[in-house]
Symmetry: D2
Subunit: 143 residues, 4 copies
Amino acid sequence: MPNHWFEFLKKDFVQGFPAFCGFEVLRADYCIFETCLKVLNQHRQQDGFVHAGVIATMADHTSGYASFTTVSEKFRILTVEFKINYFKPATGPLIICRSKVINNGKKIKVAESEVFSVSNGIEKLVSKGMFTQIAVASEDIVL
Amino acid sequence: MPNHWFEFLKKDFVQGFPAFCGFEVLRADYCIFETCLKVLNQHRQQDGFVHAGVIATMADHTSGYASFTTVSEKFRILTVEFKINYFKPATGPLIICRSKVINNGKKIKVAESEVFSVSNGIEKLVSKGMFTQIAVASEDIVL
Amino acid sequence: MPNHWFEFLKKDFVQGFPAFCGFEVLRADYCIFETCLKVLNQHRQQDGFVHAGVIATMADHTSGYASFTTVSEKFRILTVEFKINYFKPATGPLIICRSKVINNGKKIKVAESEVFSVSNGIEKLVSKGMFTQIAVASEDIVL
Amino acid sequence: MPNHWFEFLKKDFVQGFPAFCGFEVLRADYCIFETCLKVLNQHRQQDGFVHAGVIATMADHTSGYASFTTVSEKFRILTVEFKINYFKPATGPLIICRSKVINNGKKIKVAESEVFSVSNGIEKLVSKGMFTQIAVASEDIVL
C-alpha cells in the first residue's frame, strides 16, 4: 500500500461519529485495519461496562476500513449487514479492534473484527463480529 | 406497567454512551420500547449518512430496554449477540427506533428493532435487527 | 402474479435438497412464500427435536422463493448470508414456514422467515431468521 | 480427550438428519470438530450448487459437536442462534467443515465453522459461520 494511501485512510477514518467516539488508528495494511479507544465514562452503559454500541461501532468501522484498503479512492464501502457476539464485559481502560477481510469479492466484501479489552498490558477477547459490505463507486452515492 | 417503572426506565435509559449519543425515550410498554434521535453532524459518517454504529447502538439499546420491561428491578439485560441489516442510507433529520420482544424466555430474550429515518413527517425503514439478550441478576454482575 | 408463474415456482421449489428433505409449497404471492414439512425421524437430532439444520434449510429456501417472486424468470436468487434464532424445540408433527421480503432492493433482497411447529392445530413460533440474498442473471451463473 | 469419548462422539454425531445428509466425522479434539460430505445430487439446489441448507446444517452440527467436546456426557448442546455467510458457490465433489470453539463459557458457548469445497485436492473456502449454543443438562431436556 502506498504511504499516501495509508495517510489518507488514517485521516479519513476519524470523521463524524468515529471522531466523536474517539477511535484512533493503530495500523493499516492490505485487507487489515486496527484501531484503539481510550475508554471514558461516556463510553459506558448503566453497569459500568463499555457499551455494546461502542464495541459494535468500532468493529463495524474498523472492518469497513479493512475493506477500504482493497479498493481505489473512487470507491466507498457501505455496510450491508453485520452480526456481533459479546463474550465478556469490556471494562478497559483500553480497547483494541483488529479487523481483516476474509472474503475479498470485487463488489461484496466480508470482514471480521476481534475486539480486545486491555488492562495492565493483558488483552482479553471480548467480542467478535462478521461484516458484509458493498463497494460502491463514489459517484453513485447521492446524499 | 406501573408508572414509577416507566419513569425509572426513561431515566435509566439515558446514561453513559446513550446519553452521549443523544437518544430520547418515546414510549415504554410491556415488551415494547421506542426512542428517537435528532441527527447532528457528529452522528454521520464520511459520506454524510447516519453512521451504521449510531443505528446499531440505538437498535441494541432500545431492544435491551424492551426486554428490561419484562423483568423486575433486580435484573439487568446484557447483549449476547445481535445481527442488523441496513436497507437504505439514513439521512434524518430525525431517527426513530421501535423495538419489541419476540421471544420472552425467562433467561434468554430475543427482541427486534426497526429503525426509521424521518423527513417531512415521512418515515422510511432504513434498518432492522435481531438481538439475543440474557437477563442477569444485578447482584451477579461484578465490574 | 400470473398463474403459470405460481405453478413454475411450486415445481421449481422442490428439486434436489429441498425435495430430499420433503418440503411442500403452501402459498406463493408477490414477496411471500409459505411451505410445510411433515416431520419424520430423519428430520430429527439426537434429542428427538427437529434438527436446527432442517429448520434453517426450510427458512432459507422458503425466503429465497419469496424473493424469487419479485424477479423475472431470467434471474436466480442466491443467499449472501443469513442469521436465525431458535426459540423453542420443534417437535412437529408438522412444521410450517412463512417468509416475506422486507426490503425489496433491485439487486439485494432481505427476507424474513418465521417457522412454526404445529401440533393438534396449535401453532408455536419456534424460530425466526433474516436472509440477505442477491438477484443474479441466470446467464451469469456458471457451474 | 479419552478415546472412548471420541468414539462416542463419532457414533453420536451420525444420527437422524445428519446421518440422512451423509456427514462423516474426520476429527474430534478438545474444542475442535471436523467433518466431511461426499456431494450427491440430493445435496444440490436448482443451479447445481450444494444447497445453502446443506452447508448451514453441516456448519451448525459440526460446531455443536466442537462444543460437545467441552462438556461431560450429562450435558447436551442446543443452538441458540447462528449466522452464516456464503462466499462462493460450492460444487464439491467433497465438502469439509472445520469447527472450533472461540468462547468456551460454562453455559454459553460460541463456535465458528469454516466450510471448504474440495476438488482435485484443492480446498476453496466457501462459507463461514458463528454459532451461539447453550449447554443444557440432559435431565432438563423434555421432549
